[in-house]
Symmetry: C2
Subunit: 189 residues, 2 copies
Amino acid sequence: MPTPPPLQKTEIIQRIAMLFRQHGYEGASLALIAAATGLGRSSIYHYFPGGKDEMVEAVFEQTAGWVAENILAPLRAPGEPATRIEQMLRAVDALYDGGKLNCLLGVLALGNSHERFQQHLKQRFDGWINALTRLLMEAGIDKKLAAERAEDAVVRIQGALIVARGRATAAPFKRALHRVKEELLAPVG
Amino acid sequence: MPTPPPLQKTEIIQRIAMLFRQHGYEGASLALIAAATGLGRSSIYHYFPGGKDEMVEAVFEQTAGWVAENILAPLRAPGEPATRIEQMLRAVDALYDGGKLNCLLGVLALGNSHERFQQHLKQRFDGWINALTRLLMEAGIDKKLAAERAEDAVVRIQGALIVARGRATAAPFKRALHRVKEELLAPVG
DNA sequence: GTCTATAACGGGATAGAC
DNA sequence: GTCTATCCCGTTATAGAC
């Protein structure tokens, strides 16, 4: 029986992130984590002495890079606003696998441990909404309306993930992405 | 030390419901449940032999009545569509205490045990969305658009609860209720 | 028959010794 | 990195009290 090659820490964190998203904070048991990473229960504590809290921190740090590059960077880059929004939405679609995967932010926000990660959550939500707001202002929408539309977009995406899961169909998520695209740059009425 | 009067079963279920909403399914530990109800561990299993699963069932049953009366009934009653929507939104505002309380459906949908309650979740989401859809069709909106707007309303409410929790402010929820009212009966474009 | 107390089992998270 | 010990949790079984 050949020994599988040891995983890089980034790969370990990647797999743990999936477990948190699929099973929630308390649902991601050490048994699942051990199975998914090939590490022994105790070895896990060698990588993450702070336990599951530290794992969440690590996941936040690592995903921050992906989000910054694939979601926030297009919003800040030069180019047509509509094009940049479409780039963001493609990244969002990939991030949630077309509505089949949960959002870590949503899972943690509704979880019982949300206070522990409150500042991370606020930072991530605010960062996303603020980047969208700036893009809309750049497109000529006044500050207040831009901030509302930006928040609405994130609200819609988060809500669609829940409703998709509750109704057991990805359709609400797919449709939410279209509605977000339409609404963000809709003519000001 | 005066002994507190024994609780009615409906009151027990009410308090357990709060715990599930605030802490999630696995976060609502027996220790919390015992503290919140004043019952000992064994008494809890006397009332709910099936354990936490049966508690969730009981909560679903009990809240179904409140939801039917306060949220669904206005949608089905005679009267101006706009008025009936406002009645629903007032009930929603009360149900989530202005955005401070989680939705049990959302918590369970994102939890790791969502498969166990999948049929309950689907029933509740579909029931809500269908009642809204029928109201909109009654107001002259065609079936497809009505179904989309109805789903959008629920998506917005669920998403707003998450974003409100993530940003640590109830504002997104309050604003979502206004947007829902505007959008449901907006002129067809 | 209705409720409660006690103990115990299996599993999960974690700390410390090796 | 691993092994072991400890503590908490959900659950069950048994038995006792009103």
